[in-house]
């Protein structure tokens, strides 16, 4: 049995938690940009673009994130491309998030009521103008609750980066445990920290969903 949990350990865990948030942001921003491209590609008028993006999504969604991480870290190293744990984790998560956000956003775009598409066409707007001025603003509103909900998934998934050695919250816990040998207590604390990060987002997402439901009901009610 090692020593007791002291302030240094907690600071170390805190540092790990900050990196969890940092990695989550990297994944969100990188995956968000890529996801946006994929969402548009999925509804492209060009069949090849649609098929390619659909294949990408199917591929990523059918593979465990851990395998993608191993591929990025050990796989690339084995063929001569040595990457840091941060780069491997960041890239893998970006690919992962891009696929899922792409699907969520594609769904949101396609949920914009058909009359809106037709009205925009009837006003002789070009495809780009239709998207930018009519469809996307509405799609963003629809997409917000599930996107916020997915941020919870991102934060949870960063825990896997620990497996390739990136020192985020989970890895910090393993390191602390190596000196304290109180695994259950340490992981319980870590669980609480994850919960503190994720639960407010979950609640927020649910609140947005309720507000969106009300808003759309008003939208569809007779004038």
């Amino acid at each position: 049995m090692g020593g007791h949990l002291n302030i240094n350990h907690l600071l170390f865990l805190g540092h790990g938690a900050l990196w969890t948030i940092g990695l989550s942001l990297i994944a969100l921003i990188g995956g968000g940009i890529a996801g946006f491209v994929i969402a548009l590609a999925r509804i492209s008028p060009l069949r090849s673009v649609r098929l390619l993006s659909a294949a990408y999504v199917q591929l990523i969604q059918g593979t465990p994130l851990l395998v993608i991480l191993f591929l990025g870290y050990f796989g690339l190293a084995a063929i001569g491309l040595k990457v840091s744990p941060l780069a491997a984790a960041g890239a893998s998560l970006t690919l992962y998030v891009a696929a899922y956000l792409g699907e969520i956003w594609r769904g949101s775009i396609q949920s914009v009521p058909k009359p809106q598409w037709e009205a925009a066409e009837g006003l002789a707007l070009s495809r780009t103008q239709r998207m930018m001025k009519v469809i996307l603003p509405q799609a963003i509103r629809i997409a917000t609750p599930p996107t916020v909900g997915f941020m919870v998934q991102i934060i949870k998934n960063t825990s896997l980066a620990s497996v390739v050695g990136f020192v985020e919250l989970m890895r910090s816990g393993q390191i602390v445990n190596n000196s304290l040998f109180e695994p259950f207590a340490i992981y319980a604390i870590i669980a609480v920290v994850y919960f503190a990060m994720c639960y407010p987002l979950s609640l927020f997402s649910q609140r947005l969903e309720r507000r969106l439901g009300r808003g759309r009901a008003d939208f569809l009610a007779p004038a």
């Binding site: 050990f74 825990s159 896997l160 989970m170 919960f195 639960y199």
Partner: protein, 227 residues
């Protein structure tokens, strides 16, 4: 510098891969069956009059949904060890996966329960059915039929998530991959092949659930429409 890829050297190890895939499927199926039971109990518990049980179920669901599976697995693993239970990695993995998928199943089932129109419950009451009979025939069974696609997706996700069990030495597909790549020094090819295995497993599972759905839900089989 040329990148030499040698898939064949890795594919020679296909018996090991197959063994890992079988274990992954076993993990997924055990956890699925137990998770459905647990999730159904939790979903029913959310609706009881007892505030204690209802609150307890909500706490369970929210705790699981807002913490990573990896943390949950370690907690189950070390928790069971600390109370002296020496269980196989497989059993621990099934336990952790069951607890995890139970929470997600509970949410899906609850949505299914709430979609049952009040009128049908009144009609059942008008026919003098007991509360238990109403719950079973009018709420539970149709709810399962209605949310079956969502449940199927959840269980496929569970199978993919089981890769995390490699971290507690369960010898499922990802663990096998780790072993083989360290043995052959061909990490890239190994993980590509394993990814393909997982994709095939997803398809196999989806097909299996689709067939099961046809057997369980005669209405769907005959009419082809969703409830």
């Amino acid at each position: 510098m040329g990148i030499q890829l040698d898939f064949l050297a890795v594919l020679e190890r296909w018996p090991s891969f197959l063994g890992g895939a079988v274990l992954t499927l076993e993990l997924a199926l055990f956890a699925t069956v137990l998770g459905v039971l647990l999730g159904t109990f939790a979903a029913v518990g959310r609706g009881t009059h007892s505030a204690l049980i209802a609150r307890g179920c909500k706490v369970y669901v929210e705790a699981i949904r807002n913490t990573p599976l990896l943390v949950q697995i370690f907690l189950v693993y070390f928790g069971l060890a600390s109370i002296g239970l020496k269980l196989s990695a497989f059993t621990v993995a099934v336990a952790a996966l069951t607890i995890n998928v139970g929470a997600y199943t509970a949410e899906i089932m609850r949505a299914g329960f709430e979609a049952i129109p009040r009128g049908q419950i009144e009609a059942a009451e008008g026919l003098a059915l007991s509360r238990l009979q109403i719950y079973w025939h009018i709420i539970l069974l149709p709810a399962v039929e209605r949310v079956y696609p969502a449940l199927t997706s959840q269980f496929v996700l569970l199978m993919l998530a089981s890769s995390v069990c490699s971290q507690i030495s369960a010898e499922e597909l990802t663990a096998v991959a780790n072993y083989i790549q360290s043995d052959t020094y061909r990490a890239f090819e190994t993980y590509i092949i394993v990814a393909v295995f997982y994709i095939i497993l997803s398809l196999v599972m989806r097909a299996g659930f689709w067939g099961l759905g046809l057997v369980l839900f005669p209405r769907r089989r005959r009419l082809g429409t969703a409830l």
